[in-house]
Amino acid sequence: MKELASTNSAAMRVRAWLLPYLCVLPALGALALWNYYPLAFLMDLSLYRLSASSPAPSWIGLANYRRLFESPLFWQVLSNTAIYTGLAVPLSVGLGLALAVALDQRLKGARLLRTLFYTPVVMPTVAGATIALWIFNTDYGLANYLLGLVGLPPIGWLTDSGYALWTLIAVGVWKTFGYFMLVYLAALQSLPQSVLEAARLDGARPWDRFWSITWPLLRPTTWFAIVIALILSFQAFDFVNIMTQGGPSNATNLLVFYVYQNGFQYFQLGFAAAIAVIMFVLVYGLSGLISLWYSR
């Protein structure tokens, strides 16, 4: 009887010891296969020539990278992505902050407005893109009609290479600023009210109160928002693929679309992998720099 109990408890101890490993195994296995292995595989792939014309991979060292750096299109794509990121990040984070501060003032209808501003965030990108195609249609779109009302000539919002990137930035900001508004609202509501109240009693004006108290207190939130916005803007693809296909004349060709184009339209997987590696390094290099600058 006693023996039975002790083997029983030994078995239970083994089970208890094993349990956490069995629990993390499925998640860890999936992350290893679909998130970590691809990173290593991608770097390896970028050293090979692998394309529809030569399906047997051949090792070519850094030739893909050399070709990339010598390609004028790559530099154009990089510059497009820099413009997109350089505008979309401050605009969406800034707009999100401004509206969060405004809605935090117990404005009438604040709850309704909060819902409204967040709606584009949950809206499928395909839906947003289809609406944008219609509104920015050169001949019958609402945008050109409104321009006409104030006496301006129509614009080729998506067909003129001088405007297409700006249109995509506007649509991108429209889709994402609500997310940052909610992040800031959550942060604002958790600020120490006593400090703000003390400043109010001291007679500090709203504008000064914001810059000398609220803004510094929001620093960690701003860091979080900027890094997320940066990652999001580097991922921009859906609007490009549906609305412009990178055109006209590559004016809206952004990094992810460039990877997709080389990998799935020209079937140059090794070359596409090299672009993806560069993209990864850029995003996390920039995020790291921002974090360093913020943690000074």
Binding site: R15, W17, L19, L22, C23, V24, P26, A27, L28, A30, L31, W34, N35, Y36, Y37, P38, L39, F41, L42, L45, L99, A102, Q105, L107, L113, F117, T119, V122, P124, V126, T130, I131, A132, L133, W134, I135, N137, L142, W174, G178, L182, A186, A187, W207, T221, I231, Q235, F237, N241, I242, V256, V259, Y260, F264, L269, A272, A273, A276, M279, S287
Partner: protein
């Protein structure tokens, strides 16, 4: 006086932003309800002259939207189910058990948070090709079998459950997975719901991954179906395109309007942890 000016400026900014956000959505709805004759007019009509319900039927029959709908529901449900199982189990072990290598697993989960699919998709495509899974439901589902975001979010919630509750449950012989099921999950309900909603929106809306791995109409999901419909129809029936857009956006927007407090909670949990 100065204060009043500031107040007016504040209202004006908010109202302009509200108009810019609401206008495209209004235009979507109105265009979807207009007859074709009112689409291509020199002066756009702000209200439909008469409501054309037939647009929805014509759009629905214009492409295999029924099939896309079923595919979207099936794929999203399968992903959510898998993620709930894998993420809950992992979060349970990470939050409530001490074991060698726990720090490493947690590090791997947090690290995976910042590896976007836009970087890994080429390699994952080739992996799926090796498996012979391309162009199948498995290709749409398998890469999302777990969620690093969900695992992290649930771990935070499980950590907040006091040890006293686990001790009390143990006296009732409720240990291990039974404790997860009977105590941790019900106690963390708001977080679980928030995670499900965020994942639901992300995968229902996903355009990028299905675009990469599907070639057959029978397994396409709604966003791809809509994008294909748009590329076939462009320059013609905008009223039908807008009606079709409502098929894709409608369900997710309804879910959002009904459950917004949970969405907001998901931000409080992620955006504020610093």
């Amino acid at each position: 006086m100065k204060r009043a000016v500031g107040r007016v400026a504040l209202y004006a900014t908010v109202l302009i932003a509200a108009a810019l956000v609401a206008m495209p959505m209004y235009w979507l709805l109105v265009s979807a309800l207009k007859p074709s004759t009112e689409i291509f007019t020199a002066t756009p009509r702000w209200l439909p002259g008469r409501i054309e319900w037939r647009n929805f039927r014509d759009a629905w029959e214009g492409a295999a939207f029924g099939r896309y709908f079923i595919n979207s529901i099936g794929v999203t449900a399968a992903i959510l189910l898998l993620q709930l199982v894998t993420s809950n189990l992992a979060a349970f072990a990470l939050a409530r058990r001490r074991f060698a290598g726990r720090g490493f697993v947690l590090f791997a989960v947090i690290g995976a948070l910042i590896i976007p699919i836009q970087v890994t998709f080429l390699a994952n495509f080739i992996t799926l090709q090796h498996f012979g899974w391309l162009d199948s439901y498995a290709a749409l589902i398998a890469p999302f079998a777990t969620s690093a975001f969900g695992t992290f979010l649930l771990r935070q919630a499980f950590l907040a459950v006091p040890d006293a509750i686990e001790d009390a449950a143990r006296l009732d012989r409720c240990t291990g997975l039974a404790f997860l099921w009977h105590f941790l999950l019900p106690l963390s309900r708001p977080t679980v719901v928030a995670f499900v909603l965020v994942a639901l929106v992300a995968h229902w809306n996903d355009y990028f991954w299905p675009l990469i791995v599907t070639n057959r109409d029978e397994i396409r999901t709604l966003p791809i179906g809509l994008a294909m419909f748009v590329s076939q129809e462009v320059t013609t029936d905008w009223n039908l395109l807008m009606a079709a857009t409502l098929f894709v956006a409608g369900p997710v927007l309804v879910v959002f309007f009904l459950t917004q407090r949970y969405f907001i909670r998901s931000h409080v949990n992620t955006g504020l942890k610093r």
